[in-house]
């Protein structure tokens, strides 16, 4: 069922790919449409990430690609912004705070992902990472568009540049990569919920997906 929506968005996204960075929500018919598009984009990215993460973790090798791998969180990994939040706190976020948290998170995640780009294994993998980064950049810009259409200021300051703290050994570097992908995945799950809430609050152009399939 999900794949139809993803496919539909994929087509739209591919057709509009050159235009994606130029998404300007103030000209579009209202913030509602923008929120819907941002929501669709998080779903598309989450879908893409599943395959990308699988390939990248295989490149990292065991134990990172084992399904049960459940390492403790080391303090150094905290520099990657976490989606984890107290339930009541999350519920009580204002629209501005909610959007800002998303914007900050993806801006930083994008930076770290870009740093991965140059060192990753095969050319194929690097190409896929590059494509994902472009899409992720689209998401950051999309969120910015929603914020400006609602009259919120963009969070100040450039994201903290990565690479300032280099992992002391190969294994720790791989751990960092593992956590980066984990946080990215969790953020995409969270963003779907964030944008669901925003959809309800802002007068929407609600897109109802109705799919009919005979003889399943």
């Amino acid at each position: 069922g999900d794949s139809w929506g993803i496919f539909a968005f994929l087509c739209a996204a591919l057709c509009n790919l050159p235009a994606l960075p130029a998404l300007n929500c103030t000209e579009e018919p209202g913030a509602g449409r923008c929120i819907q598009q941002t929501y669709d984009l998080t779903r598309y990215l989450e879908h893409q990430l599943r395959t990308l993460a699988g390939t990248y973790l295989n490149y990292l090798g065991p134990p990172f690609n084992e399904p049960d791998f459940n390492p403790p969180r080391l303090a150094r990994a905290e520099r990657v912004p976490s989606a984890t939040v107290d339930l009541d706190l999350w519920r009580g976020l204002t629209d501005n705070a909610r959007l800002a948290a998303n914007y900050r998170a993806y801006s930083r995640l994008l930076c770290y992902l870009r740093a991965l780009d140059g060192t990753a294994g095969t050319a194929e993998l690097r190409h896929r990472l590059g494509h994902f980064c472009s899409s992720l950049q689209g998401l950051v810009l999309s969120i910015a568009g929603v914020m400006s259409s609602l009259g919120y200021p963009l969070p100040a300051g450039p994201p903290v540049p990565p690479g300032t703290s280099v992992a002391s050994n190969d294994f720790l570097k791989k751990m960092d990569d593992f956590w980066l992908l984990k946080e990215l995945q969790t953020w995409l799950w969270r963003s779907a919920k964030d944008f669901n809430r925003l959809k309800k609050k802002v007068p929407p152009a609600v897109v109802t997906l109705r799919l009919e399939a005979r003889g399943f």
Partner: protein, 335 residues
């Protein structure tokens, strides 16, 4: 002084008559029935290759005085096999529950111990009020990157066994099926059925965590289901039903973004609206018979179809006969 003794199926059991000497004269009973001397070795009772039917109360009496010297309750059973454990969140984002059972019964009492670890923290799993093989966890944090590890250990007098599950918060989300599914025909629409349902009552926050739905329907006479996926709303109108055929309809739910589909809801049956057959009195009025107007139709006696010998004479008679034929035909159809 009686106690309980647990033994494995297939084991050989030797029961001593308390502090009595080996060569003392005793009588053993099983559930009050005397046991044959062939099972005795001196004053010891030997049970070889025990089975479940041999569970019961065993008593040993001194030969002549018939004093009760020893009593034990024998319970034959098996050590536990690896238990089956499942965890599910049907009330996201409140928490999840875990439920377990043994694949085969052990025939003796078992105790269960469950532990839930999230990162470095051990979480409390609250026992379910009604079900003894279920417990509930409440989420403290949402959107966690750290997995949950649930370990269940089952122990009985003959052994222990355990199993573990490790999962992410999002993967175990599975709502309960939609409730109050209702399907009704739509008046004046022979190919439509209006279906409506409600969010499962266990889903705490459909506003922030909306559900999407999957509807399937088929006429009873066919095996092939038709499907519709709906990302919004709790109702749908089927517009391609076969006229006059009874349908079976079910709905399933899923969180919009995460987890898996619920089980199918209870099935409802409905038949699309069909046109009522027209009343005969209207036809009678249109063709202007002379018969008295009553609610039930009576063909005029001069126009029986079986009256083949009826003479077709004057035109008036012929006209009445034709009209009668038409009316009689209707009469035959509706009786």
């Amino acid at each position: 002084d009686s106690h309980i003794q647990y033994e494995r199926v297939g084991a050989d059991v030797t029961m001593k008559c308390g502090s009595m000497d080996w060569d003392a004269a005793v009588t053993w009973t099983a559930n009050g029935t005397d046991i044959d001397e062939s099972h005795l070795n001196g004053s010891y009772l030997i049970l070889k290759n025990v089975n479940l039917t041999q569970s019961g109360q065993y008593s040993c009496y001194e030969g002549s005085s018939w004093h009760l010297k020893y009593q034990t309750y024998l319970r034959v059973g098996t050590p536990p096999k690896e238990p089956l454990l499942m965890c599910r969140s049907n009330n996201y984002p409140k928490g999840f529950y875990c439920s377990w059972h043994l694949p085969t019964p052990t025939s003796i009492p078992n105790s269960f111990n469950i532990s839930v670890i999230h990162g470095t923290k051990e979480m409390v799993c609250e026992k379910d009020v009604f079900l003894k093989n279920r417990c509930h966890i409440r989420y403290i944090q949402l959107f966690s990157t750290v997995k949950y590890k649930v370990t269940l250990t089952v122990t009985n007098a003959l052994g222990k066994n355990s199993t573990s599950l490790t999962f992410d918060e999002f993967t175990i989300v599975k709502p309960d099926p939609p409730e109050s599914v209702v399907a009704k025909p739509v008046p004046n629409n022979p190919r439509r059925l209006e279906v409506s349902w409600q969010n499962p009552s266990s889903w705490p926050d459909p506003e922030s965590f909306p559900l999407k739905f999957f509807l399937r329907y088929r006429p009873l006479i066919l095996d092939q289901w038709q499907h519709v996926e709906l990302s919004d709303g709790t109702s749908h109108t089927i517009t391609d039903a076969y006229a006059g055929k009874e349908y079976i309809i079910q709905v399933a739910a899923k969180d919009n973004d995460i987890g898996t589909w619920s089980d199918w809801s209870v099935a409802v049956h409905a038949t699309p609206w069909t046109e009522e057959p027209k009343h005969l009195t209207t036809e009678a009025q249109i063709t202007e018979t002379t018969s008295a107007s009553t609610s039930s139709f009576m063909p005029p006696p001069t126009t029986k179809i079986c009256d083949k010998g009826a003479v077709v004479g004057s035109g008036a008679v012929a006209a009445r006969w034709t009209a009668g034929l038409v009316l009689a035909a209707y009469g035959v159809l509706f009786i």
